[in-house]
């Protein structure tokens, strides 16, 4: 197929992102979708039920379900994101740019969390000696 039409969609995107309100809507939706995809990947990989994950991260199951199904229009609070990262065992990186751009990324392992756990175990070990 000819690579001619994408310009049209780019024009729509540029127009939407030029408006501050729709720009905010765009990036919030992107972050919500990205977060939902991250959660879904872990659920699939670990064969977790939504109920089990909701319990693990201290969320109401209907809220988790709404997030996964894309029915929610708002990002969880930072406290919930923190619990999600811990419960999922992933490193969640929330990036908010000066121009309002916002993205959520993950790494499959949480090196910082692992390092923190190691440090805690080491401290405990020292204390028990």
């Amino acid at each position: 197929m000819k690579n001619r039409e994408p310009r049209r969609l780019n024009r729509i995107r540029e127009r939407l992102l030029a408006d501050e309100t729709t720009r905010a809507e765009y990036f919030t939706q992107r972050a919500v979708s990205e977060l939902a995809a991250i959660i879904d990947r872990v659920i699939q990989k670990e064969k977790l039920s939504q109920t089990a994950l909701a319990q693990r991260v201290g969320m109401h199951q209907p809220d988790l379900n709404a997030l996964l199904k894309g029915r929610t229009e708002h990002l969880p609070t930072l406290a919930t994101l923190r619990r999600l990262a811990q419960g999922l065992g992933v490193h969640l990186a929330v990036r908010i740019d000066a121009d309002g751009g916002m993205r959520i990324r993950s790494a499959s392992k949480a090196p910082q969390a692992k390092a923190a756990a190691k440090a805690t175990a080491y401290t405990r070990d020292l204390a028990s000696r």
């Binding site: 049209r8 127009r15 992107r30 979708s33 029915r71």
Partner: protein, 161 residues
């Protein structure tokens, strides 16, 4: 994997009309749909999951799978090419706020085309995304009708402003 995101000219015109409407109430829904499509494209570029419509969030109201060989592609070089090169054609109907979109995903060995085929404002939807029982019953038929837009590749030659 190369992923191209397109808007069908008819859909492009629909969106332009919605954005030009007084107050443009659909603007936020269009923006959110655009964000979802961009997320899907990025995910496909990175991972190319086998089951594309499940990548859409919210999950599609309905979806249809087609064998590319059986589709009445327009007799264009691109149509002939797609008939034999495409591995799978999937159509999905998604609802963001009151904006309902039909999206096509055409998977070829080296590239994937995501085409925004249709965008129209509906009455306020129920929790399941449908407007009412009739709407739910007619969804597959409505989506199936969008296939004509995809296979009519004459629009590739039109210079729509």
């Amino acid at each position: 994997m190369e992923v191209q995101l397109w808007a069908h000219p008819a859909c492009d015109a629909q969106i332009a009309r919605l954005l030009a409407a007084p107050g443009a109430p659909a603007k936020a829904w269009i923006s959110r749909t655009m964000a979802i499509l961009d997320t899907v494209v990025e995910r496909l570029e990175a991972e190319a999951p086998t089951d594309v419509p499940t990548e859409f969030r919210p999950r599609p109201l309905t979806r249809l799978d087609f064998d590319p060989l059986t589709l009445p592609w327009e007799d264009y070089p691109e149509g002939v090419d797609l008939r034999f090169r495409a591995m799978q054609v999937e159509l999905a109907l998604i609802q963001i706020g009151r904006l309902r979109s039909a999206i096509a995903v055409v998977k070829c060995p080296e590239e994937i085309f995501v085409v925004w085929l249709d965008a129209r404002v509906t009455a306020p939807p129920r929790d399941d995304g449908f407007v009412d029982a009739d709407d739910a019953a007619n969804a597959q038929q409505a989506l199936s009708a969008m296939l004509n837009r995809l296979v009519d590749l004459t629009w590739l030659e039109k210079d729509v402003p």
